[in-house]
């Protein structure tokens, strides 16, 4: 049978675009299937890219010539380096992005990619033959065949929207859902569960009383996300700050009756670090006010994103609560907030390439793996896209280690620990936090990027040049004028070197047996005394080494020792 494509990507969000572009850069004939090509690269929620941990991911994806950093630079209308008062390891670059410019930038890169075709249509089913996925069936009944398939369905897989007592099928307001695909996947006996997320109402900026509000201007200092980016190209806008009032909280409390969150209509768990305003008011009843950032969605766009009041309360309640907030007394809601619940796959059924164990040729990236955030999605898109291409082309996998990248930390966490809420990157998740900095991504990952075969010639030169500058600096040769970033990077290396040396000592002491490998066929039930919970976790995650075993939640040191002894017994 002749495949039309090496790699087929389902979904045109941050994971899907990154996956399709990475596969294409790697030399695979790639198709991106999306319900609506005009929505490729849409930011469904907050108009920001980056942050602490998230900004680190963006820089890492950029080293592999990914899209997100370049598009963020094209669209940035407000820059902020978070944690500037702290050390470089935890400084997180973040920008507010003009929604339209971001989408246009992504669509531009996708269109320019010679190996990449965009197919408009809804994917109704995977073409499964035996245990192999061979492509997809579209809504019109046509088949698109491919060697490998990447699912990046976001909130669209079995997506349902909630607002007050309203219910609607869909992955985003005004759009459809991948309902038939969800049914087919559930019928495959895959470990599927529900998660939820939410988004705030959007305001018409012309109806906000800006004069009474505090402004937060863009950083003066020049920095950008991509080392290959256009620099600062868009005009800079300010954000503003306001707060909820006791009256706001009264309105929310009075409206909880028809909240789908409180009423139990939503079964999926939402993210703790991005709670709805009704969650905040209920869980932190002692706080009488919560901060709201008013973020512009674009330069020639009046829409304002009020960050901090994600809600799925009824339309009436949303109207009332907005009017109780200083500066928003006469604000008009352009689009009401809502919650969305969607299907995700237990990521422990994935391997470190993000390939699904049960179905050959199928990869997953983004929210389908239980994560949240554009940056997390993009980073998984890179991993899934590169490896789907490698599998289709018969090339070696591209793997990420948690001691060298946040991408690796995330993949390792997801595939070993699984998730209990939408997974967001935090620097606390990385044990080598002092090493994994946003400012040394090229140094950390440059070689891997070159070896991946998925970077352009200009990128290759840029990486080589970076290595050259570092080498020069190390030999004491004067750094050229444009090497200031390298100079700062080396300064940071020096700052952390003693701590990293100590950390290395401590971690290697503790993990002396971490490298002991565990055969794929190892039977944990032969290790006496493991609880059912531990067995379930070990069998779901199938750790490859003893170090991975010890990182799995709920596995006690005694259990690790028992497994070590059992493994050694087999090896002996």
């Amino acid at each position: 049978m002749q495949e039309e494509f090496d790699v087929l990507v389902v979904g045109g969000g941050h994971a899907g675009c990154e996956a399709a572009a990475a596969a294409a850069r790697r030399g695979a004939r790639t198709a991106l299937v999306t319900m609506d090509a005009r929505m490729i690269g849409a930011m469904s929620c907050n108009p920001a890219i980056g942050g602490v941990g998230k900004g680190h991911l963006v820089r890492e994806v950029d080293v592999f010539d990914g899209l997100i950093a370049r598009a963020a630079d094209e669209a940035a209308i407000h820059y902020r380096m978070l944690n500037r008062s702290k050390g470089p390891a935890v400084q997180g670059p973040r920008v507010q992005a003009d929604r339209r410019r971001f989408r246009a930038a992504i669509q531009g890169i996708v269109a320019a990619e010679p190996n990449l075709s965009v197919i408009e249509g809804s994917v109704d089913a995977l073409l499964i033959s035996g245990e192999c996925v061979q492509g997809v069936e579209l809504g019109d009944g046509s088949h698109v065949r491919s060697r490998t398939t990447v699912l990046a369905t976001g909130t669209f897989l079995g997506g349902r929207l909630f607002r007050g007592s309203e219910r609607q099928e869909g992955g985003r307001i005004g759009e459809g859902a991948a309902t038939r695909l969800a049914l087919q996947l559930r019928a495959q006996d895959l470990p599927i569960a529900r998660l939820k997320t939410g988004t705030p109402p959007r305001l018409d900026g012309r109806t906000i009383d800006w004069a009474v509000l505090d402004r937060q201007p863009s950083d003066r200092e020049l920095w950008s996300f991509s080392t290959m980016g256009p620099g600062r190209v868009a005009p800079q806008l300010a954000c503003a700050l306001t707060r909820t009032t006791p009256e706001t909280h009264d309105i929310i409390r009075a409206s909880l009756d028809d909240s789908p969150l409180v009423g139990g209509a939503i079964e999926g768990r939402g993210p703790r670090y991005c709670p709805s305003i009704e969650d905040k008011v209920t869980r932190f009843a002692d706080r009488d006010s919560h901060q709201i950032f008013l973020e512009p969605e674009g330069i020639d766009d009046h829409t304002i994103y009020p960050n901090g009041i994600s809600t799925s309360l009824s339309v009436e309640a949303q109207d009332a609560l907005i009017r109780s907030i200083p500066g928003l007394e006469s604000a008009v809601i352009a689009q009401h907030g809502y919650a969305v619940e969607y299907d995700h796959i237990d990521p422990r059924s994935l391997d470190s390439r993000l390939a699904l164990g049960g179905l050959k040729g199928l990869f997953c990236a983004g929210q389908i793996n239980g994560t949240t955030g554009y940056e997390e999605a993009a980073a998984q898109g890179l991993v899934a896209g590169l490896n789907a291409a490698c599998e289709a082309l018969g090339a070696a996998s591209v793997l990420f280690d948690r001691s060298e990248s946040y991408v690796g930390v995330m993949i390792d966490d997801l595939t070993l620990q699984g998730i209990s809420e939408p997974y967001r990157m935090l620097t606390a998740r990385a044990e080598y936090r002092l090493h994994l900095r946003a400012d040394n991504a090229t140094t950390r990952l440059g070689e891997a990027a070159l070896a991946s075969g998925a970077v352009s010639d200009p990128r290759r030169r840029s990486i080589m040049r970076h290595f050259g500058l570092r080498a020069d600096a190390k030999c004491g040769r004067p750094i050229q004028e444009d090497g200031a970033d390298v100079f700062r990077e080396i300064e940071a290396d020096t700052l952390y070197a003693p701590y990293l040396a100590r950390l290395d000592r401590e971690l290697s002491q503790i993990d002396a047996t971490a490298g002991v490998s565990i055969g794929a066929a190892f039977d944990y039930r032969r290790v006496g005394g493991l609880s059912n919970e531990m067995l379930e976790r070990l069998e779901a995650a199938r750790p490859a080494t003893l170090g991975e075993v010890s990182r799995i939640r709920g596995i006690t040191p005694a259990a690790v020792s028992a497994i070590l002894i059992a493994v050694r017994g087999i090896a002996a």
Partner: protein, 430 residues
């Protein structure tokens, strides 16, 4: 060797010394049920005590015993487990043990092997395993009480509480790193450093409790003094045995002699030392050097010399007070004794017991093994470093290493535990 599948079945007398009213033999391992069936005909229903006639291979009645059957893995060792509650005569127990040895796959257990299997099978954590081992080895009441507390997770509880507090501090530190620039609920935390220093001090305090090894192995009480001052006689008197050679010839005791003694429920080791005097004799001088060393490291020094004691905290004993010319106790002595008449012996015992009990930990203060003390100390060190460093992300790394140290005592804990503490405390989500 895999702990369950390929392991031998082990058995041992697991109750106290014989003869006794009841003797309990435990059998653990894959052949436990077969062993039970061989001796008792059949295994009773799980976890129910039944009276059975135990018979040997030749069909002879060995004993009528209470037998229990515990199928693994929910047993003390994590393996299949059988218990035989016999009448506690030496002959009965010896016969049953020898019959068990004849069951294929069964062998006598090595010391600590039951505990080791329980640990390897994940039934108990390391600190519990250490507690059980101490319990089995405990010879004194104080050590036994301590071991029981430890085996029941007493240390786990204490470390758990310390860890809980450290998690709270780590969450505060992490909140500032992850969200400090963005969330109004996360303000600069000016109290964090002093709270860290406080916790470090408390950890150090925990370490000041007397070491567990000492309670188990006995306090070292050194009896020292010039030659012929009555050291050996005193040791023999206290221990009620002839440990040391008593002789009027100076220099008789040339090496350290040790006599384990139990005093008021505390284990002590009485150490007789060579008499201290200037000598050219090589062997005697070696003995004197050792005595001097023993004096330095002793928990308590009983000093029998008339001249000043080599340690200020010594109990100064005016010995041989029955002798002519020694009837009056000098002001420099704490107690006057005579091993011949028994005079002063009660007072000396009380003085010694009083001194020793000051080393005992307060009732709920826990004793730890060297490994556990080392980990608590390393945790305290990391916290002290965290309180000192001006770089917040480096302080957070120190806190993580500190948590790791505590985790190694009780096991588990991960990023999620810290995040639970963080999101429980701060309202995050701008």
């Amino acid at each position: 060797m895999s702990p369950s599948a390929a392991a031998d079945t082990i058995f041992a007398l697991s109750s106290g010394a014989l003869p006794a009213a009841v003797a309990i033999i435990r059998v653990s391992g894959p052949a436990a049920k077969q062993a039970l069936e061989t001796l008792a005909g059949s295994a009773p229903e799980p976890r129910v005590a039944r009276v059975r006639a135990l018979r040997g291979a030749g069909g002879a009645l060995l004993d009528r015993a209470l037998v229990l059957w515990f199928p693994g893995p929910a047993t003390a060792t994590g393996e299949d487990l059988a218990e035989l509650h016999l009448h506690g005569g030496r002959a009965v127990v010896a016969t049953v043990l020898s019959e068990l040895g004849g069951v294929p796959g069964c062998r006598p257990a090595e010391a600590g092997e039951f505990t080791r299997r329980a640990f390897l099978n994940g039934r108990i954590d390391l600190s519990e395993a250490e507690g059980l081992a101490d319990l089995l080895a405990a010879e004194t009441e104080a050590a036994r009480r301590q071991a029981i507390r430890m085996a029941e997770g007493g240390l786990t509880g204490v470390v758990e509480r310390l860890r809980e507090r450290l998690l709270g501090l780590a969450a505060r530190a992490e909140a500032v790193l992850e969200f400090g620039d963005d969330e109004d609920d996360v303000a600069p935390d000016h109290r964090l450093k002093s709270d860290l220093a406080d916790l470090a001090r408390e950890l150090r305090q925990t370490l000041k409790s007397s070491p567990a090894e000492r309670l188990r192995d006995g306090f070292r009480v050194v009896v020292a003094g010039p030659p012929n001052s009555g050291k050996s006689s005193l040791i023999n008197k206290i221990s009620g045995r002839s440990v040391a050679i008593e002789s009027p010839i100076a220099g008789t005791t040339r090496d350290l002699l040790e006599a384990p003694v139990i005093l008021d429920g505390m284990a002590i080791i009485l150490i007789d030392s060579a008499g201290l005097r200037a000598t050219d004799e090589v062997i005697e001088r070696l003995g004197i050097e050792r005595a001097e060393q023993a004096i330095t490291v002793a928990d308590v020094l009983l000093w029998l010399g008339d001249e000043a004691a080599p340690r200020a905290d010594a109990i100064r004993v005016h010995a041989r007070c029955d002798l002519l010319g020694r009837g009056v106790m000098p002001a420099t002595a704490d107690v006057a004794i005579s091993v011949k008449t028994g005079e002063g012996m009660e007072k000396l015992r009380n003085l010694l017991a009083g001194k020793l009990s000051s080393f005992l930990p307060a009732t709920d203060m826990l004793l730890m093994t060297d490994r556990q003390r080392g980990l608590i100390a390393s945790c305290a060190e990391h916290l002290e470093q965290a309180a000192l460093t001006p770089i917040p992300e480096v302080a957070s790394e120190d806190l993580r290493l500190g948590l790791r140290s505590l985790d190694q005592i009780v096991g588990r804990a991960d990023v999620e535990a810290m995040l639970d503490a963080l999101f429980g405390r701060f309202c995050i989500g701008k």
